[in-house]
Symmetry: C4
């Protein structure tokens, strides 16, 4: 089975998720600068989630670029990832509207942790299907970046009950680590052509 | 007529349906664990519907993979399926918000039954267009799984007025039966290549 | 310029329009059959609009199937059609929630009239670009069906102030006329191959 | 890396943005013409934003038509553009619901200015990736139109505090300037074929 339609469906779901989050940014009734102040945490939460979902799209794009065909397991591992991603707008709204309170901030980290876990599972399913000598397997290697993210998310969840600002800083740090698209795959693809 | 654009349009509609259901999961105003409790049935209803719609996408994907071209009847049979699928978010919300009360649970089963019927119709329209000796016709065979699902949905609808939890178990059981993508088609496709 | 991306974008917009209309079908708080009664006109309005938008998608699909490349004018004529289609959810909700009152029913017909006009403009722009000897030009011919629809919509708009049920019957009649996808194009395409 | 999936994702996001704006156009409860009057500024704001987003889609389409492959920087520059575009529904609703009050009108211009800046950045990233002798570089040239738009948006933002109607006229004027799709690219592509 080719990857085209799986990519198109994932693009659709991710495009909708990244866009419906902005619906939480409801226009205030007043027309003063002060009226925008309560929206600042909502905007910051939206900004972080936009970047996080954008990173998922970017890396998903790269991963399937190094994948030629899929089986049923990969299809389901992909839907599993989309399920946890679909909860990002919910926790973003909960965290933003409650000005980064402890529990919503921890829940936000929890959903990001589940997304990261689902992404790792999907990656493993593809590598298992392709064989451990594949382009993707060599590109991912020991996946230090992936494992570091999981540790950072878990730390962030616990820190939310002490100082939510630190959690937010950690979540943002994971985003910065991944901001650069997965150059490992780009490099592996390039080295293969030469 | 090629199937590309029909697949793209169906992907779009299904991607939107699967995603807007999460909008029913409204963030609570409080930031305590207790505030999440009323969301549990809404979340469970969303989870089941996500899996059900995911199964439709998966099998739709497989079915059109075994289909090369379509006619007007297939186009309309496909839109007919999308119409009933589009009512899934409505019954999901009704059932979830009312904590699996009798009538909403029966209505949920009713919409799933109509979706399953519409899927069977679409399958029949494609087989009729391709001829009864086609890849898809051989893959589907007597469609025991499809007919079993219809019986289970009808039973679930009646059980909703006695014990809605049993209906829910039946609906979930249908999902589990179909969880594995239609291996019959994968097998038929493979056997054809050899 | 190829038509691929224009088709993908139009598919996206139409898929979203056809799906967001269902958001107007808000689940009632009660769990009785009686609670569903006020939703009946909303459901009927949704059903008609789903069929109407489905017909647009279907015919759009057929029309661009007979179109190889586009210019700037066609791009804008297509966006113009999407603009009027984007108002269908608004008038559907207004008409459905007000149980087919006179003015909303007329406004519904007005938006459908503008959609039909925009579709004719798009068709003309494509034929102008392709030359009057093209596949599409021969398929459309004198476009009696298109002109009849315009007359029926105009009649429906006036009838709304006398008896809205008649308007609804006329709008539904237009849908039935177009229900069958544009066989003229299918026929013209087939005759060309032979 | 090919541009196909980037274009599909951008199409998805832009299609959703252009469509969810119409959700702000809430059907009034009354069924009189007078009930539609408060919707007029909301409709005008929607109309302007539909045209603006339509222009972005159109020019995005043209720009990537002249682009064969992308790198990580282009992927991120594209997501950056989509981020600012995603704020258009928010400022459209704020401006429309407040009948073009000073601050919302200035904020609307501010978001359009950021979109225009992001588009210029994306264009620069593509040209940098392709080399300054590429099709796109020659098509864009000194980008007088792009720079004029920025000046007009900045003027519009300041005028909002004096006379918002003038801002609106300026924003509409930018739309008219860009209404014609980027003929420079069409011309450059054509001249290359000959």
């Amino acid at each position: 089975m080719r990857t085209t339609r799986l990519e198109a469906f994932s693009d659709g779901v991710i495009a909708i998720l990244i866009t419906i989050m902005v619906l939480e940014l409801r226009p205030p009734h007043a027309t003063t600068l002060v009226a925008l102040v309560p929206l600042v945490p909502v905007f910051l939460a939206y900004l972080l989630s936009f970047v996080v979902v954008g990173i998922y799209w970017n890396n998903h794009h790269h991963m399937f670029h190094a994948t030629d065909d899929v089986n049923g397991t990969v299809l389901w591992a992909n839907l599993h990832l989309l399920f946890w991603l679909s909860l990002v707008p919910f926790v973003t709204a909960w965290m933003g509207e409650n000005h980064f309170a402890a529990l919503p901030t921890a829940a936000y980290g929890g959903v990001l942790l589940l997304c990261a876990g689902a992404y790792t599972l999907l990656q493993t399913a593809i590598i298992h299907h392709q064989g451990h000598d594949s382009k993707l397997a060599r590109a991912v290697g020991s996946d230090a970046k992936g494992r570091l993210s999981l540790v950072m998310y878990i730390t962030g969840i616990f820190l939310a009950f002490i100082q939510p600002a630190l959690s937010w800083a950690l979540y943002a740090a994971v985003a910065i680590i991944w901001f650069v698209p997965d150059r490992r795959i780009e490099r592996a693809l390039r080295s293969r052509r030469h």
